[in-house]
Symmetry: D2
Subunit: 100 residues, 4 copies
């Protein structure tokens, strides 16, 4: 599933249209939330109200990250282990730490 | 410092120009990061690479939220306590939980 | 509420009997959980089962810490702010970070 | 590596003596920390000092849990995937969430 370009070393992974459009929709929504928070700061809105929006965006991003990580484990990681490549386990542990 | 509009009930807080422009700059950068993640998904980029960017955005947002919360405690919360209004303490505890 | 011994510099705080016995009961229970996890390791119990117990102890300790921190904010911090001593706010921010 | 008793359904896993004694030593230390926190509460010690000890115990427990989880992924999970048993991935995701 994973591919690595021999020219540029950029790694890619083919995802289903459904998975892809699910991620893109959520990222569009998160981008809108960030723009909304920016406007709240410009409008001198009260700290609490801004902080509730920031925490909502943090949750939305973390939840997207965890879903992507789950799908990564159920596809790429299984492939890697079947190919006796165990280094992706350490990367996953590191990513879990960063996302938590 | 806190004001509440009698018409619309929207609460505001006057921040220094420096604080305001610091937040706005960082939010602009985060918005750009989210747009970059969206492009990575569109380009079928590998899970790990996307996840590192997501975790960087989560960190940037959390760090902004924590700075705002700290400033909130050192200004609005102190005012509230001086006015014997202790309800903001519960709100702060709740916000810390959401941001962690 | 806070006292500092001039001889040894150890700071103390008088808590209600109810609050104190609540904390002690929970700490006794957590101590028992840790002993139970130790026995599970000795008995070669399966990773998942040990990890569920570890995460339960982590939750119990964090929840105790957050309750203590809340009570600290509602008593000592309010006293400090009334005495124009704002340094405890930074300590609280630091403790929230460690406990989250 | 994983075994399940047919009588009692209790699952076990053989670990190296070194790994086992590492966990047991750390759990003994954590048990001592909890007992120390209990004594601090009995002695009416100041909130901050108790909270620093609680957060140290939380860190010690989480770090032990993460090490156990890493070892679990590098042994049991690899075995499971080699046996086409993918359900342990969901359990691991759940455990990461609980431990973070």
């Amino acid at each position: 599933m994973k591919n690595e370009c021999k020219e540029c070393n950029i790694k890619t992974k083919k995802r289903s249209d459904e998975e892809k459009s699910n991620y893109i929709k959520r990222l569009n929504r998160i981008e809108g939330q960030i723009r909304g928070i920016n406007k709240m700061v410009s409008d001198d809105r009260y700290c609490d109200d801004i902080l509730i929006q920031i925490s909502a965006s943090v949750s939305a991003l973390k939840s997207l990250g965890q879903e992507l990580l789950e799908n990564h484990m159920k596809t790429c990681m299984i492939d890697d282990i079947n190919n006796k490549n165990y280094s992706s386990i350490d990367e996953i542990i590191e990513l879990f730490r960063r996302l938590s």
